[in-house]
């Protein structure tokens, strides 16, 4: 027995419970609770700090830790470069960078890798100068490339332990409730960031737009957030999103899209209540348009659209052709407005979207997916990351997640891109294994994975130009020839992780 802070006798232990801890006062064990209770003119309790530097100090970021960022601000992102510069100035070294993805604007990272601030990288993709730098073997450790679902799995399972997440948000209140569709830097869904907010040890929000408490509805919750910093700007709105995504006028993309739509219509999956996802690329987006025309004609509605949401999908939703939208990443202004206003346009986290090891992710419920490809081989393996020169210039994204989760996965690509064939004997890098890819639609013909006899039979009953993938490869090579093989060094510059955490391929250093 001992007396607690309010003079009550409390036993040290009691049967059925562990050691009992006597009450020590209302504020002792909860340092964040405001202690000025009862005092008039209370300072509002908040998590605001003045500078990014203060936030880094408060999080006690140290050499060797893991930090994370999201890529919802796409090519408009200011956050990663801003934070990395401060970290570098503070002399912190040997960090692991676990971004959801990296884009062209992150070429400054080259400097931080050279100076030893960043020594390891997890990301979905690499582009531009950074991709060149990595591909030329200039980083000591290989980069680990993951899919969107794979990253969520890694973070939830503890394979990636984030010490500090620096999350740019378009709006926040003083307590950390934040969302992606309010403010001048609106980006829509914060689906990737939600995973970091939930699992990172420390969470720092950086915003340029403060709103009154509570900032509802919120995507990132106050109970996940440690510190908040307001800066002048989190990103360049022109780089964060485009205006309404327009349907391409490129006749080749339109031709591919028309073929893809007809494949879907004839595939057996086009029935009332089906679900689909199409990307934001030219042909993929146009597929949505052609598909919607047929939906109107046949009186078919989709139960949900997944993605990667564009204004095109929003329009279909508003017309009643797609009942609900599940949105992990929002691509353009109209879609950003929609996720803010529209009850059935729902934000989902990357885990909800595609984590293969949670209790059920959205890609498993997907009927039809339309995906792009840089290369596809005669085994239907798809490369979306290394270019024809062997340099990393793309992203794994949700490609392998949706391909395996969907009922039918359709790859759209021109048969010849520039001067090189898209269909090859062996792709440079496998991101998505051929056993999860069902149909290839090009501008010069369609090939069905022989594994999908049901689909092949249905498509053969149409007037669509069906070939074997070997025939398509030959067609391409007749025009484009066979390129000389790219030469690589032995050094592995990147590991490509499949969504389940196994390594599906490696990327080697290109010969200079």
């Amino acid at each position: 027995m001992s007396k607690n802070a309010v003079n009550r006798e409390i036993p040290g232990s009691i049967s059925g419970f562990d050691t009992l801890k006597p009450f020590e006062g209302a504020f002792t064990n909860t340092p964040l609770v405001r202690k000025q209770k009862g005092v008039r003119n209370l300072p509002k309790l908040n998590k605001m700090l003045d500078t990014v530097e203060q936030a880094i100090m408060k999080t006690e970021l140290k050499d060797g830790m893991t930090i994370s960022f999201h890529h919802h601000f796409r090519n408009g992102d200011y956050i990663l470069n801003m934070v990395m510069d401060v970290i570098s100035n503070l002399g912190i070294k040997n960090l692991t960078l676990a971004s959801s993805s990296l884009t062209d604007v992150h070429s400054q990272l080259v400097r931080h890798i050279e100076s030893g601030v960043v020594t390891k990288i997890y990301t979905s993709g690499l582009r531009g100068e950074l991709g060149q730098f990595i591909s030329h073997g200039k980083m000591k450790n290989p980069v680990l490339i993951h899919s969107h679902g794979g990253r969520a799995r890694a973070i939830e399972s503890g394979a990636i332990k984030i010490d500090v997440a620096f999350l740019g948000v378009p709006s926040s209140d003083v307590y950390g409730n934040s969302n992606g569709y309010t403010g001048k830097s609106a980006c829509g869904s914060l689906g990737y960031a939600k995973v970091d907010a939930e699992f990172a040890n420390k969470v720092v929000l950086i915003t340029d737009y403060m709103v009154d408490y509570p900032n509802t509805p919120f995507s990132i919750h106050q109970d996940q957030v440690d510190y908040i910093v307001k800066v002048d700007s989190v990103g360049d709105p022109d780089g964060i999103s485009t205006g309404a995504t327009r349907i391409t006028k490129n006749p080749r993309d339109l031709l591919i899209a028309q073929n893809a739509a007809e494949v879907i219509i004839s595939s057996g999956y086009f029935e009332d209540g089906f679900s689909f996802q199409t990307g934001s690329g030219g042909a993929s987006l146009a597929t949505t348009k052609f598909l919607s025309e047929e939906m109107i004609e046949k009186g078919i509605t989709a139960s949900f659209g997944l993605g990667g949401i564009t204004s095109q999908m929003v329009k279909l939703h508003e017309k009643g052709l797609i009942k609900k939208l599940l949105d992990t990443q929002t691509f353009d202004d109209d879609a950003i407005k929609s996720i803010g206003n529209n009850r059935y346009h729902t934000e989902i986290s990357a885990s909800y979207y595609a984590n293969p090891l949670n209790k059920g992710c959205a890609v498993n419920k997907l009927n039809v997916i339309v995906l792009s490809a840089l290369e596809i081989d005669t085994d239907f393996n798809v490369n979306v990351i290394t270019g024809s020169d062997g340099v990393i210039r793309g992203a794994s994204g949700g490609h392998s997640d949706t391909a395996v989760g969907s009922g039918i996965s359709i790859i759209v690509a021109p048969l010849i891109r520039g001067r090189t064939a898209t269909v090859v004997d062996k792709v440079q890098t496998i991101i998505t294994p051929g056993e999860t890819v069902d149909v290839l639609v090009t501008d010069r013909g369609i090939a069905v994975n022989p594994r999908r006899k049901d689909v092949l039979e249905r498509l053969k009953a149409t007037t669509l130009p069906i070939f074997t993938i070997e025939e398509l490869k030959d067609k391409a090579q007749r025009v484009a020839g066979t390129p000389e093989t790219i030469e690589f060094e032995d050094k592995i510059v990147a590991l490509v992780e499949y969504r389940d955490g196994t390594i599906i391929d490696v990327i080697r250093q290109v010969k200079s």
Binding site: P251, R252, L254, L255, I416, D443, T463, V479
Partner: protein, 298 residues
Amino acid sequence: MEKLRRTMLYVPGNNAGMVKDAHIYRSDSVMFDLEDSVSLSEKDSARLLIFNALKTLDYEGIETVVRINGLDTPFGVDDIKAMVRAQPDIIRIPKADSADDIKAVEVLIEKEEKLAGLKVGTIKLMAAIEGPLGVLNAYSIATASKRMIGLAIGAEDYVTNMKTKRSPGGVEILFARSQIVTAARAAGIYALDTVYSDVNNEEGFLEEVRLIKQLGFDGKSVISPRQIAPVHKIYTPSQKDIDFALRVIEVIKEANEKGSGVISLDGKMVDKPIVDRAERVIAMAKASGIQFDEEDDK
């Protein structure tokens, strides 16, 4: 089955990227242009490009047409020499004003065919009529050579010569269109309408296609792959037309089997023009990719 020429896609002869892919949009014909879309400094390189494209690439059964430069230019003769050897299906003669324009080209083609050891008469001809004189001479142009398979109207030069300009309804070229389609029909060859250059005006384009179909044209020259599908759609018979045509053919068959004379369907007499039209509807539907059940196809 009668060859369809609903769409003839213009492809500038100096654009290698477009030349390589000209056929993938499945127009009924592709027309490589050595004439107006190629600048003077590129005439020879375009000729060489088209020569090699025709010799090397597989256009997968799509009819190939080359529009050569006129014989009144320094390029016409060389175009003919090269193209006879490259062997497109058709050479298209620009700005034809009289039968002599066709005959002059024919003489040169025949000479080159012989020199190249090719069978005389392989390459077919079509002529674009682009001026008032050509319109008035349309029938003699259409019948100037056995090689002639079609007449096309080029409206831009024509309206300028007529001291007017194009209007949305096209009243200023109604006479020329009518004259050319009539001449072509009289000669038993194809009639192709002029291009519609405002690619983004889809509604205006559709209206024009409906008009020229009604006038009796077989098809239209198109300048963008995006214009192909709409033309084919308009030229594809409606289900109603197909159903009626199938019934016409059915009653004719029955009547022939029974040996009965006067045939009627829904209380109307079925005579030869109706049967001819029905057969054309079915042929056009099949050519447009509409599939018929075995039952209907007997």
